[in-house]
Every structure is written in structure tokens, then in C-alpha cells.
């Protein structure tokens, strides 16, 4: 197996000819029927498959233990699939060692080299990949500027702040212009403000270079903010592969619906026009065709339930009923209410309310009216597990 890509000094941004050639070659990454079996327990990754087009930003989203990191490590070459094949630029790579793949990776703990300066860290892959030594300093400078660390190249790693270290790690992963950039939850350890700043920074740099990127995270907001595409994983299996907006609007199953956003579930049976719950027909739309009477769950997001002290204010909605506020959590720009619905057997739903002037009016214990439209509640077959 030869090198995947010609090494050597290259123009920093891919030129048009390159792009055209790349487009002809098909997807940048292709995963086909990949299993990973660690021997004990169920498969860590089961029958994973997807294609990723050149220049796209994909996030693999899932709770811990869902197999997302294992999948990423297989793409990076640190682990070999027990079944299936991974193709990069159309070539199978199972037998290619990590250092022979043209993949840049930003690690969870960054894995910067503490005995080197920031610039030496960035120069490392260029040296290892035998770039022309004369071109290296300029290239390093260029990429330090790209991540806005111009002038800090001489600093030791421990002399840099957390955000600056992130930037060094990005520059180091990108400086040799890899075919693929992998991000293994590098933002997980940052505080929220810095994390949100770095999310945008990653996105900016990724767009600027047009590098195909696969990110792994358990943070749904990060996935939605940064990605062109999102894969949701659970128990080693891909649950859904979609654009962020589709993922949000049209979750493929109850797990995805639950994992993304704040979602309430109503138990019941499928009835014409909705879900029959506690003898009441709650308007909703099945995700796929379901026979009437099938046990089902209706998923509805907190921001799609409207709420008012005065029921008349919700007159335009497809459905309304009364409930009691059990809890109110102030989150700053919004308030999250937990409302018990006696008519539905005492089920509680979570409701976002964004009108700050109204917050104080709906204290716990108060009776309120909640309501929603038919298209906002999605019915899923009652999950077997």
C-alpha cells in the first residue's frame, strides 16, 4: 500500500484542478459494514457504514460508550476493524499504519509535545513527513497565523493558555494538509464560553481550508453548531445520519428524539390523527406508517409546547389542556417548566418559556394551560428495549 497522497510542499489552499480531480474520485471517506469486537460483551461498533463527501464537516454524536470514539480510532488507524473496510479517497486503508495515512488528528487531551515549543510542535509533522526543510519555517508561521497564534511560536506548551494550546493542536493537525481531519472531543475539557468560542474557530478554519473533517462529541449543541452532517450513535450502532436541522426536526427514532434537545414522551396507542393517551386523543404525526392501536410514544420538544396562565391565549393551537406547574428552573434567557397533566394520568411534560416578563407569574402549584400543534408531536413505536 503506497502513500495515499504525494508529500512535499504544496499550495496552502487546494486549487481548482485538485478539487475537480477530488470530486471525480468520489467520497473522501467511506465506511462499509464495519464491526469492532473487543471480545467481551456486545460489539463496540456494529455494522457501521456511511459516506462523507470531500470538504464536509461530520460530527459523530453519542453518549459515552456508544462506540463513537472507537469508530474514529478505526478511521485514524489506531484500531483495525474486525469486519468491514474503511476507504479514504477510494482506497482501502485497513492495512495502512496511522503514520502512513494522511490524517490530521486533534486529541481529547491535545497530546501536544511538552518538550517542544509551539512552533516545533507545528513543524513536527512536516519533519516526520519529510517536507522540504527550507519551506518548513514559513509554513509553520503561516499556520500559526491561521490559528491566530502569530508571534507565539517560541513559547513552550506549558506557557500557553488552554485556548492557545487548542490552537497549536489544530495547527499541528492541519499543517501538512491532511486528506482528513479528525477531532476526538478536543473541546470537552474547556469551560463553556471558551468551548463555544473554539467551536466557531474550528468551523472557520475548516471552511477556510476546506478540509474534510470528522468530529466526535457527546455535546449535542456542539454537533448542531459545527457540522454539515451529524451521525448519532448508540450501543455501537448508527441511529441516524442527517443534516443538523433534519436531525432536529425529524429524528429517526425515539433515542435520537430524546438525545437531541429537551423532549417529553407521552405513552399510548396509535389512533387516527394522533396518540390516544389516558382516553384523550393527543394530536400527533407518526414518523412512519403505524397501524391504529399499536403501542407508541409521542415525542414533543420543550420549545414546541406553548404555555399560558390564560388558556384563551393559546386559542390557535390544535390541542390544549390544563396542567399544574410542578417546578420552574430559571436558565437566564428562558425558563424550563415541569408541568403535570392530570388529564393524561399525571404525566409531566417539560416546557420552555421565553417571555421573561411572564416568568414570575407562573410559580409552582399554579394551574396553567399547555398546548401544541399536530405536526410538532412525532409518534414512534413503543421502544422494545
Amino acid at each position: 500500500m503506497g502513500r495515499i497522497r504525494q508529500q512535499g510542499p504544496q499550495p496552502m489552499i487546494r486549487d481548482a484542478a485538485n478539487a475537480a480531480q477530488a470530486a471525480k474520485a468520489g467520497p473522501a471517506v467511506s465506511v462499509r459494514g464495519v464491526d469492532m469486537d473487543f471480545g467481551a460483551g456486545p460489539l463496540a461498533v456494529a455494522d457501521a457504514g456511511f459516506d462523507l463527501a470531500r470538504g464536509r464537516f461530520l460530527t459523530i454524536l453519542g453518549p459515552s460508550g456508544s462506540g463513537k470514539t472507537t469508530l474514529l480510532r478505526m478511521i485514524a488507524g489506531f484500531q483495525t476493524p474486525t469486519r468491514g473496510e474503511i476507504f479514504i479517497n477510494g482506497e482501502p486503508v485497513s492495512k495502512v499504519a496511522p503514520h502512513q495515512r494522511a490524517i490530521g488528528m486533534v486529541f481529547q487531551k491535545l497530546a501536544l509535545f511538552p518538550h517542544l515549543t509551539a512552533a516545533q510542535n507545528v513543524a513536527f509533522p512536516l519533519k516526520m513527513r519529510r517536507f522540504d526543510a527550507r519551506g518548513i519555517p514559513a509554513r509553520v508561521e503561516q499556520f500559526l497565523d491561521l490559528v491566530r497564534l502569530g508571534g507565539l511560536g517560541g513559547r513552550r506548551i506549558h506557557e500557553l493558555s488552554g485556548g492557545q494550546q487548542q490552537r497549536v493542536a489544530i495547527a499541528r493537525a492541519l499543517v501538512f494538509q491532511p486528506d482528513l481531519l479528525l477531532l476526538d472531543e478536543p473541546l470537552a475539557a474547556l469551560d463553556r464560553k471558551l468551548r463555544e468560542e473554539m467551536q466557531l474557530e474550528f468551523r472557520r478554519i475548516q471552511r477556510e481550508l476546506g478540509v474534510t473533517t470528522i468530529n466526535v462529541t457527546h455535546d449535542q449543541r456542539e454537533a448542531l453548531v459545527m457540522s454539515d452532517e451529524v451521525i448519532v450513535m448508540e450501543a455501537g450502532r448508527i441511529q441516524q445520519n442527517a443534516r443538523p436541522v433534519d436531525l432536529y426536526r425529524d429524528p429517526a427514532n425515539a433515542f435520537v428524539a430524546n438525545f437531541i434537545g429537551v423532549t417529553s414522551f407521552l405513552p399510548g396507542r396509535v389512533a387516527p390523527g394522533g396518540l390516544e393517551c389516558g382516553g384523550i386523543l393527543c394530536p400527533g404525526t407518526p414518523r412512519q406508517a403505524l397501524a391504529a392501536g399499536t403501542p407508541a410514544r409521542g415525542a414533543i420538544r420543550a420549545e414546541q409546547i406553548r404555555m399560558a396562565a390564560d388558556g384563551a391565549a393559546l386559542a390557535g393551537l390544535d390541542f390544549r389542556l390544563q396542567g399544574q406547574v410542578r417546578d420552574a428552573i430559571f436558565e437566564g434567557e428562558r425558563q424550563l417548566y415541569e408541568v403535570v397533566l392530570p388529564a393524561l394520568g399525571g404525566i409531566a411534560v417539560q416546557v420552555y418559556h421565553h417571555d421573561a416578563s411572564d416568568f414570575a407569574l407562573t410559580a409552582p402549584g399554579q394551574t396553567v394551560t399547555v398546548g401544541w400543534n399536530r405536526r410538532d408531536m412525532i409518534l414512534f413505536p413503543a421502544a422494545v428495549p
Binding site: A76, P98, M105, F124, M128
Partner: protein
């Protein structure tokens, strides 16, 4: 009301009593001296060592009169002159220094992969096995091990028996310089591995994976990443092995067949065989001097901070 045992365990009460007793012995207002109190035994020990060194220095400046077997009252540098004039001491000194260098190099070369596998292996059984194999020699001791080699490497020993099976006549494997160095390397290996292991543990596996993803094969990862990051351990292990080898007595005495003395053997001879304490003391100080030079050189080359002492930097 007395608190019940569950609320207030006996261990806490014991600590309370001990604390009260400590307060009586060493009142809190003296607390800024507590650090010095803790240091006192160590300082005392160093002080005693220093006094010994001063006495040795004094002894080295008096020569022995063999008519009366008493040392001269006058101070002179004759002992040092004798030590440096007689080729035998320079030869022994050179043999010790060269031996220390070779043994240190070989020991680190062997200890590094051993420590690396021990730290990195995913098999806890293998790790246990390596640890046991490492600690077992500590319970055996240097002299017994040296005698073990006498048996294994001797003319009628295991190795020569095996060589005999393939028709090789018995070889003299003992009583030469390589035999001494071999014994020393085998003796030093556990020390070196134990010094190296924490340094290797401190290198995140992720860092090695990162080097791989950046294009370094295992050899270049080792050279450019693992070795530089393991430097504190390597320097520490090297210092321990160098000083223990430089001052070793038993291996040259037992495996050298009497013809491969190190400095310690020469010093022993002066003190206990020819009763010439002055010359013995002079040789001792030369050894201390050489040892300090080596350590000083290492610190100059790598910096004292290389042992990862001092406050953690984040």
C-alpha cells in the same frame, strides 16, 4: 450526649488524641518550625556524613610510617602523589570510570524496553510477571547473585554444559572485565527500571498515538517523542547506576577473579590489607571527587530541573 460509634469512628478519636498529644509536645505556635523538625533527622544524617568526610580528608593528609605503623603528624600531599604516581591506581580509576559508563549505557538500553513494556502492556499478568522478575533479585542480594553467576558461568557450569552439548570446549567466561560488567548490568537493571517506570507512566499513550498520526513511525516516535519525554527518568536512572557502579565492590571482587579491581576494592585494600589509612583516604576522596564531577557534568548538560523536581508547572 456521646456521639455514636457510627457517627464518630474510633479512628477519628484516635487521631484526636494523637493531635492533642502532639499539641502538648509541640505547641501550635511553633508550627512554622514544623518543617525544620521534619527535616532534622535527614540534616543530622548529612551532618554526620560530612563529619566523616572531613575526618577522611584529614586522614588523607597524613602518611603512614611503617617503622611504627603510626601516621605522621605533619600534613602532606604525599598520599595523593602516591595515588596519582602509581600507574596501578590510575589503571583502576580508569577501569572504574569506563566500567561505570559502559554499564550505565547498557543498563539504560535494557531497562528502557523492559520498563516500557511493563508500563504499556495491556496484560496485567504480564505486568505482574515483569514486576516480580524485577523485585525478586532485590531479595537475593548482590553477593549471593554474584556467587550464582560463579556457578552458572563456571567451567563446569550450566552455560559451559550447554556449549559442550554443541561440541564447544569449556570457555573461561568468568574472571575478566566483561564478566564484571555483565554482573553489574544484571545487578543495576532493577534500579534503572524502577527509576524509569514513573517517567514512562507519565507519558500519555495519546501523545505517542499523536506522533503516529503526525507521520512518525515507531522508531521516530521513540526518538523524537518518547525518549525526550522520558528524559527525567533516564537521567535519574543513569545517575543512580553511574554512582552505584563507580563505587561497587562486590562484583569486581567476586566476578573479576582478583585482576579487575575497581576503586572501592583498592580503597578496601589500603584500609584493611596494608593498614595504610592515609592512602585509602586519599583514594576515597578521589572517588568522591570523580563521582561529584560526573553528577555535576550531568546536571550541567541536562539542567537540574531535568529530574522533574521543583514545583509543577502547568
Amino acid at each position: 450526649m456521646r456521639p455514636s460509634r457510627a457517627e464518630y469512628p474510633y479512628r477519628w478519636r484516635l487521631m484526636d488524641r494523637l493531635e492533642a498529644a502532639a499539641d502538648r509536645l509541640f505547641p501550635r505556635r511553633w508550627s512554622r518550625w514544623t518543617g525544620w523538625l521534619m527535616l532534622a533527622p535527614a540534616l543530622l544524617l548529612v551532618a554526620v556524613l560530612l563529619i566523616g568526610l572531613v575526618q577522611i580528608a584529614d586522614a588523607s593528609l597524613h602518611t603512614l610510617d611503617r617503622k611504627t605503623f603510626r601516621t605522621s603528624a605533619a600534613y602532606s600531599l604525599d598520599n595523593y602523589r602516591a595515588a596519582l604516581d602509581q600507574g596501578v591506581y590510575l589503571a583502576v580509576l580508569w577501569r572504574s570510570v569506563l566500567g561505570a559508563a559502559i554499564v550505565t549505557l547498557l543498563t539504560l538500553l535494557l531497562a528502557f524496553p523492559y520498563g516500557y513494556v511493563m508500563v504499556r502492556t495491556r496484560s496485567s499478568n504480564l505486568r505482574k510477571l515483569l514486576l516480580i522478575a524485577l523485585f525478586l533479585p532485590f531479595f537475593i542480594g548482590q553477593v549471593v547473585r554474584a556467587y550464582g553467576w560463579l556457578i552458572i558461568l563456571g567451567n563446569g557450569g550450566l552455560v559451559n554444559d550447554l556449549l559442550g552439548l554443541v561440541g564447544v570446549p569449556p570457555q573461561r567466561l568468568l574472571f575478566n572485565y566483561p564478566a564484571v560488567l555483565f554482573g553489574l548490568v544484571q545487578y543495576m537493571l532493577p534500579f534503572a527500571v524502577l527509576m524509569l517506570a514513573p517517567a514512562l507512566t507519565a507519558i500519555p499513550e495519546e501523545t505517542e498515538a499523536a506522533a503516529g498520526s503526525l507521520g512518525a513511525n515507531w522508531l521516530r516516535t521513540l526518538w523524537h517523542v518518547v525518549l525526550p519525554m522520558a528524559r527525567p527518568g533516564l537521567v535519574g536512572a543513569g545517575l543512580v547506576v553511574v554512582s552505584l557502579t563507580l563505587t561497587d565492590f562486590a562484583m569486581p571482587a567476586i566476578l573479576g577473579g582478583g585482576g579487575q579491581d575497581f576503586i572501592a576494592n583498592a580503597i578496601y585494600d589500603q584500609f584493611f590489607r596494608t593498614s595504610d589509612q592515609g592512602l585509602g583516604a586519599a583514594l576515597t576522596l578521589l572517588l568522591v571527587g570523580i563521582g561529584s564531577l560526573v553528577v555535576g557534568a550531568v546536571f550541567t548538560a541536562f539542567g537540574a530541573g531535568t529530574l522533574a523536581m521543583g514545583r509543577a508547572r502547568t
